[in-house]
């Protein structure tokens, strides 16, 4: 009853969306891999970044693809400050405290956005918002293709950063052996904050890639945060390759379950996968650490 080309189109669209999901999950998995914490404020920071893109466009007339050069360093700084001066001191190094502090942060950020922007759903108008690319029988949205390509580029850059640079080596050292890193002169608090900053920077990039095709309201992050957790759990906590693969799979699952189950039940596929993976194989399909 469903023609195969409809399914192929849904899969292609799911792949494109999945790449951005992967980018969002990348920040989360990196923070998990190094700090061994789950950053519950991840979704709220993404929403804040999406509103930042919105403000850049509406107030300063900056195109989202240019705003990325402003917002990425800005959110890196924000993430650094949050981790170093709020999360780290408030949680006294206790895991469940970190979870609660980041939950508190997400409540504050979300509701500050709600108080400022109200609950209206916003979007931005860009001239290329609806342009499409013809690939064989498929019509692909140009902003989504750009998002797909950029997400992969960021993942590769992040991988290079971790392998080639001194900071990256320090990050990997802290992830493996915290006490040992401190002994050889690495400032663990600094590296924690840098990692958290990179996570936030990934979100700023994701926000710039999402806004040309997505809507935002103060609760948008809620939907993304569970999707991102699902990807991270699916791909194995702390694994970059796992996050990429997980993102693409979740993108396809979401697209297909939306096609077969309809709009309101469609989201359920992701949560069921999430629960199943947690219950059956909580290490994901690649348990590797950063």
């Amino acid at each position: 009853m469903l023609k195969p080309d409809i399914i192929i189109a849904a899969v292609a669209n799911g792949l494109l969306t999945g790449a951005v999901y992967a980018l969002i999950a990348l920040g989360l998995t990196l923070v998990y891999g190094v700090l061994h914490i789950i950053n519950f404020a991840h979704g709220a920071i993404l929403t804040a970044a999406m509103f930042a893109v919105f403000v850049c466009h509406q107030v300063f007339r900056i195109d989202p693809y240019l705003a990325v050069f402003v917002l990425t360093p800005l959110f890196f700084g924000l993430g650094y400050v949050l981790q170093r001066y709020v999360i780290d001191p408030a949680s006294h190094g206790n895991d469940s405290n970190i979870l609660l502090v980041t939950l508190g942060l997400s409540i504050v950020i979300e509701n500050a956005l709600l108080a400022t922007f109200r609950s209206d759903t916003r979007s931005i108008d860009v001239p290329y918002g609806f342009s499409v690319l013809e690939v064989g029988p498929l019509l692909l949205s140009v902003p989504k293709v750009i998002a797909f390509v950029t997400s992969f580029a960021v993942a590769v850059l992040l991988g290079l950063l971790l392998v080639k640079t001194d900071t990256g080596k320090a990050i990997r050292a802290v992830a493996k052996e915290k006490a040992g890193s401190a002994l050889v002169g690495i400032s663990v608090e600094h590296i924690y904050a840098v990692t958290f900053g990179i996570g936030a920077a990934c979100l700023a990039i994701a926000a710039c890639l999402l806004m040309p095709t997505y809507l935002v309201n103060p609760r948008s992050g809620d939907a993304f945060v569970l999707v991102a957790f699902t990807i991270v759990v699916l791909g194995g906590m702390g694994s970059i390759g796992g996050a990429l693969a997980g993102g693409l799979i979740i993108g396809i699952v979401e697209s297909l379950s939306g096609l077969f189950l309809g709009e309101s039940l469609g989201q359920i596929g992701i949560f069921l996968i999430f629960i199943l993976v947690l219950l059956v194989k909580p290490t994901g399909f690649s348990g590797a650490r950063v």
Partner: protein, 325 residues
């Protein structure tokens, strides 16, 4: 106040019962009833997380189950609410048991347990919102039929007393658990699960019991909420707000204490009202979410500066005042 005692619970119970006699305005009664419902939900969370150390982010699953079971048993099956109430609480317990059995069997702990409970709550929310049996996105309405045999009281104080009776019952239950062998096992699991198991505690069973009791209390809160508002939708029943309130009240009040959830719920909701009124009078209009900004900030501040919550502050201040005398 080193902790609770039957005497202190009796005194608090007497004060709670007297409240609807002293504060008779509708606003005050609504506030007390709602604070009581939140206390009940929070007490449920407190037994599992405060005593057992299993942090749930999805107590909405139990609250919503209780609320929807209460409403649907009346609307779809025509049951009397006094009969529906215990059945709905039992259904809440069954859901708690099932979620607990699945999660604890898979040895989920810490953040993983928090996330899986959140996911369960979300699945229930989406299902409730999509199925026609539960009224879908339009929600479910309990028809207005005032009469005490129908648990809809002409005098708002009666429902308030019913809620407070449940709160007192929850205080007694928590105190009894805290003093029991089961309570000791629970605290042992919280402090060091592996050590507890090594000493012969069946940690799986202890956690399973705790989540079942916890779910029943939170489901009872949902039942009373349904009976008070007579309307439910998926966002009210299974929305994140109740999961957050249920964990915030004990953390602010004093996690793992008998009175913590009560103190925390009263303090939080009171502060929320004050903030809303203050902002409304300052800016000349209601600003959505300001009370929640305060809640979020309080959560961070509690974790950072008052890990034992308000009850902990009481304990810190007491010796100082004695020393001064």
């Amino acid at each position: 106040m080193k902790g609770a005692s039957w005497l202190s619970i009796g005194v608090v119970a007497a004060m709670l019962v007297a409240l609807p006699l002293l504060l008779t305005s509708n606003v005050a009664l609504n506030f007390i009833t709602f604070a009581g419902i939140i206390t009940l939900a929070a007490q449920g969370w407190n037994i599992l997380a405060g005593y057992g150390g299993q942090f749930s982010f999805g107590h909405a699953a139990f609250f919503g189950t209780g609320a929807y079971a209460m409403a649907l048993l009346q609307v779809r099956l025509g049951l009397n609410p006094w009969l529906a109430l215990p059945i709905a609480i039992a259904i809440g317990g069954v859901v708690g048991f099932l979620i607990g059995a699945l999660s604890f069997r898979a040895r989920l702990r810490g953040s993983y347990f928090a996330l899986v409970t959140l996911a369960f709550a979300e699945v229930l929310r989406i299902l409730t919102n999509a199925l026609s049996f539960t009224g879908g996105a339009a929600g479910v309405l309990i028809p207005l039929r005032v009469g005490s045999d129908n648990m809809q009281f002409r005098d708002a104080r009666v429902l308030c007393w019913l809620v407070l009776a449940f709160v007192v019952g929850a205080l007694c239950l928590t105190y009894a658990i805290a003093r029991s062998r089961f309570g000791a096992y629970l605290v042992a699991v919280r402090e060091n699960e592996d050590a507890a198991r090594a000493l012969g505690v069946d940690t799986f069973l202890v956690k399973l019991k705790a989540i079942t009791v916890s779910a029943m209390l939170t489901a009872a809160a949902g039942c009373l909420y349904a009976q008070k508002s007579l309307y439910l939708d998926a966002g009210i029943g299974f929305g994140p707000w109740i999961s957050i309130d249920a964990l915030l009240a004990p953390i602010v009040g004093g996690i793992g204490t008998v009175f913590g959830p009560l103190v925390g719920a009263a303090a939080l909701l009171g502060l929320g009202e004050v903030t809303k009124t203050l902002i409304a009078s300052l800016t000349g209009g209601a600003a959505p979410g300001v009370d929640l900004i305060v809640f979020g900030a309080l959560l961070i501040l509690s974790v950072a500066f008052a890990p034992q919550g308000l009850m902990g502050l009481v304990r810190v201040l007491r010796p100082a005042s004695k020393g001064g005398a």
